[in-house]
């Protein structure tokens, strides 16, 4: 007899634009002490499945059309809200994706931790406090006494996720649902959190449902895996089976999309071997004053985001820039395209001293170096059609007559694999991947010699991500464009970059040919990064 038995679950969203079948006939079993992984891209219905078990979906628009979820002889989908409430946070706990927004900023950590204990176990304030502190200690938070009185904003992301885990486990639940608990975290933190979850699950003997978009992580942590697409389970099986002998084409596509191999052969441009210096970044330091978070603090501090970084880039080369949050990689990128000023150092592109340009001179040179931004939803003006957007960029290089302009626009569209009928549409009518293509086309329109791409695929689903990476490689080859590619995702970097630079807290710790960095990392931090990825994901090394 399984602990949780879900049968033919159907959840539909009744919106103004029609019915969305978010979950359409999902069944699964969860055994005691085991982990069930659910994998899928955005919109696959993986989170909706779990939220519906706990009655956490907003109704309306959501409606549970059919199905049953038997837990402990009770159908969770049918019991009244008041009864369900005695299960939530007591027998079934859940950890959410974003630890930054999932804790109440107006309440102390302690108050939030003791709440479920007081509600479900009827503990006295003292007993609950003691229990909560024990839980904090268990998730590796030191000085729990002091931390209990802190507010969430005083904690880092990883610490907050630890608090969430402590909150979930304090009541000794039977089932823990983890909804992408590490997606918002850096890789090294991710590895720690995953390790923690695994350890606690084992010692408490809890059954877990682990939801993720990342097949690698799920394959690493789960015993059993469901692959979901558009509300339907397309494949299920033991993890090794799914990963090594995928049956369904979608599963295969998911696995193939994970960028984990080396750069495709023949995709490196010949001239990069020569190591000519196309771009030279010399001893760059960038700092800015920090607006104090507190209203009552009158001191102004300086924060050094990039500290004495030197890098070179050859013509046509792709340089990968890796680092975790706070490493200064984005700041450096923004400084190269002159969105941020340098405090010290120089940036030279061919004969031009980029870092010294200003005013009209700067504006005239700008087309030479373009940028692709992270968020394809924010990087396009919502009030401009694709046509207007591309025309504006093309005319930046001088006015053109209509016919010539139109021909160039069509050529750009072809480059990024979009269709002419897309021209009249506005950004909100496109998917994330299409928007990123538009943004790439806009940057290409200026015929830049240097392209700086700041996490261009991190907001995209893994299958779309693979397409965009392929596109960028092709464009790099076709136009012999040098590129600086920034990412926190080592797999992506390994796939696209010729050389890789690793940044840590504003400093360059290591730089060299990508394969050398991945196979023989020299700096301890690089080693730590790589081992973090290996331990949290079941990748090529898991036979």
């Amino acid at each position: 007899m399984s602990l949780l038995h879900v049968e033919d679950l159907r959840v539909h969203f009744h919106t103004r634009n029609g019915i969305v079948k978010a979950v359409d006939g999902v069944s699964f079993d969860l055994e005691k002490g085991k982990t069930l992984g659910i994998v899928g891209e955005s919109g696959s219905g993986k989170s909706v499945t779990c939220y519906s078990l706990l009655g956490l979906l907003p109704t309306p628009p959501a409606r549970i059309e059919s199905g049953s979820a038997l837990f402990d002889g009770v159908d969770l989908l049918k019991v009244p809200e008041a009864t369900l409430r005695t299960y939530r946070g007591n027998r079934i706990a859940i950890i959410f994706q974003d630890p930054m927004t999932s804790l109440n900023p107006f309440m102390t950590i302690g108050a939030q931790l003791i709440e479920p204990l007081r509600i479900h176990m009827g503990m006295s304030r003292r007993a609950a406090t003691d229990r909560a502190m024990a839980a904090l200690r268990e998730v590796g938070i030191t000085e729990p006494q002091r931390r209990m009185c802190c507010y969430p904003h005083e904690f880092s992301g990883g610490m907050r996720q630890r608090v969430m885990i402590a909150m979930g486990l304090a009541t000794e639940p039977d089932i823990l649902i983890a909804d992408e608990p590490t997606t918002a975290l850096d890789v090294t933190i991710e590895a720690q959190i995953l390790e923690l979850i695994r350890k606690l699950q084992e010692s408490h003997g809890i059954a877990m449902i682990y939801i993720s978009h990342d097949l690698g992580i799920v394959a690493g942590i789960a015993d059993h895996v469901l692959v979901m697409q558009n509300g339907v389970v397309v494949e299920r099986g033991a993890k090794a089976e799914i990963f090594h002998r995928p049956q369904h084409p979608y599963t295969r596509k998911l696995i193939d999309s994970i960028p984990r191999s080396a750069k495709p052969a023949g995709s490196t441009l010949a001239e990069t071997q020569g190591g000519s210096d196309f771009l030279r970044i010399e001893e760059v330091r960038i700092s800015y004053p920090v607006a104090s978070e507190s209203l009552f603090d009158l001191h102004q501090r300086e924060y050094t985001a990039v500290d004495g970084v030197s890098l070179q880039l050859a013509k046509g080369e792709i340089l990968g820039l890796v680092g975790e949050s706070g490493s200064g990689k984005s700041t450096l990128a923004r400084a190269i395209v002159r969105l941020v000023d340098l405090k010290a150092g120089r940036i030279r592109m061919e004969e031009i001293l980029l870092s010294e340009l200003s005013g009209q001179q700067l504006n005239d040179t700008r087309p030479e170096f373009q940028m692709i931004f992270q968020d394809p939803y924010a990087s396009l003006n919502p009030r401009m059609t694709v046509q207007d957007c591309l025309a504006e960029a093309l005319e930046r290089r001088g006015r053109k007559d209509r016919k010539e302009l139109q021909a160039e626009i069509l050529a750009l569209l072809a480059d990024v694999e979009l269709l002419p009928e897309h021209l009249r549409k506005y950004p909100h009518e496109f998917s994330g991947g299409q928007r990123q293509r538009i943004a790439i086309a806009r940057a290409l329109a200026l015929k830049p010699k240097l392209m700086v791409a700041d996490e261009p695929v991190s907001a995209l689903d893994v299958t779309v991500q693979a397409q965009i990476l392929k596109l960028l490689l092709e464009l790099n080859r076709k136009y012999r464009m040098s590129m600086i590619f920034i990412s926190h995702d080592l797999g992506v970097i390994r796939y696209i970059a010729d050389r890789t630079a690793v940044l840590y807290q504003g400093k360059l710790v290591e730089c060299g040919p990508t394969e050398r960095i991945f196979n023989h990392p020299e700096h301890p931090y690089t080693q730590k990064l790589l081992s973090a990825v290996r331990t949290s994901r079941l990748l090529e090394g898991a036979e």
């Binding site: 706990l54 956490l56 409430r85 005695t86 299960y87 939530r88 946070g89 007591n90 706990a93 859940i94 959410f96 974003d98 927004t101 999932s102 804790l103 109440n104 900023p105 107006f106 309440m107 709440e115 479920p116 509600i119 479900h120 938070i141 931390r147 802190c150 507010y151 904003h153 005083e154 904690f155 880092s156 990883g158 610490m159 969430m164 909150m167 104090s292 978070e293 507190s294 209203l295 009552f296 603090d297 009158l298």
Partner: protein, 311 residues
């Protein structure tokens, strides 16, 4: 915290100086003076009066003299109410205006917050529409319309409540307080609803639900504090408005508060009284704004402490 208050107080000084200077010169440069309206006083008497009140001296001298006096808390004698100083008049009207404002504020907060919170719990149902329609009526019925209507209906037709005075007959404080509080209740209700809707859609409310917290505790313990932020930042302008609004309400209900004195003083060109009261109001407004900011900061842990423990 003390540094913050000190900084804000220092910022308030130029504001006050501008108020004092602008009102002083505006009053003095305007045509007419306090004695010109009274029927033809003999020339010598006029001259004597002017000398007595030092109106014959150069304007700048008078200005500096005035600044010196108010720095010592002396706003001078009233021109019109002979024998009474400005300070005395303000002192007499102040308790009345404050009491009126306090009742109005109490009504506004009680009615506004509860109706706004109730509306936010079931958006786009009758539970939302009824309080929000009432709030809209409150915003569209200014006090000089609402006041007379209440007087007419409740006071004159139904004869339930007295319609004028302050503390003369039991119950005469009700209508003015309601008249003044209603508009603010309407604003607060809308702000509270908006704030609560914003907070209730946050991820941490889902976390609370996932912990098995009951809906009422979610509202009271998890949402209310954050949801009230817009209301708190409205308190500064609201308090200032309650003082300004007292002009109309005190006129309609014949209440001997500051507002009525002020309008009369303005019509009478009672220089010292106008100036004194203008400055007094300005100080009050600055202080209330400061208090509202302090309360807002105190309610928000993010603003209260600047430290961020890493890890």
């Amino acid at each position: 915290m003390p540094a913050f208050i000190l900084k804000r107080l220092l910022q308030a000084l130029p504001v006050l100086l501008i108020v004092i200077t602008a009102s002083f010169f505006m009053v003095r440069l305007a045509p007419g003076d306090p004695f010109s309206q009274e029927r033809a006083l003999p020339v010598e008497v006029m001259k004597g009066l002017r000398t007595y009140y030092k109106l014959d001296q150069p304007l700048v001298t008078q200005y500096i003299e005035y600044l010196k006096n108010i720095a010592q808390g002396d706003f001078g004698p009233s021109f019109k109410y002979s024998g009474r100083t400005v300070t005395e008049i303000i002192g007499a009207g102040l308790p009345v205006t404050f009491e009126l404002g306090a009742y109005a504020l109490l009504i506004a907060l009680l009615v506004g917050i509860s109706s706004g919170v109730i509306a936010s719990l079931r958006p786009n149902t009758w539970q939302d529409y009824v309080p929000m329609s009432l709030a809209m009526i409150g915003i569209c019925l200014p006090s000089y319309v609402l006041g007379p209507l209440l007087v007419l209906i409740v006071g004159i037709w139904l004869e339930w409540l007295p319609v004028s005075g302050w503390g003369y007959i039991p119950g005469d404080k009700i209508l003015p307080s309601v008249t003044m509080g209603f508009v603010y209740a309407a604003y607060i209700s809308r702000l509270a609803r908006g704030g609560m809707l914003e907070i209730l859609s946050q991820d941490f409310i889902r976390t609370a639900r996932a912990k098995g917290v009951s809906e009422s505790m979610i509202v009271l313990r998890h949402a209310l504090r954050g949801g009230m932020q817009p209301v708190i930042s409205f308190m500064g302008p609201a308090l200032a408005g309650l003082l300004g609004g007292s002009f109309v309400v005190e006129t309609i209900f014949q209440i001997p508060g500051l507002g009525r004195y002020y309008v009369q003083a303005a019509f009478n060109r009672d220089y010292t009284l106008i100036l004194g009261m203008t400055i007094f109001f300005a100080v009050l407004i600055v202080v209330f704004n400061l208090l509202a900011d302090i309360v807002a900061a105190w309610m928000n842990p993010r603003l209260r402490s600047g430290k961020s423990a890493g890890g």
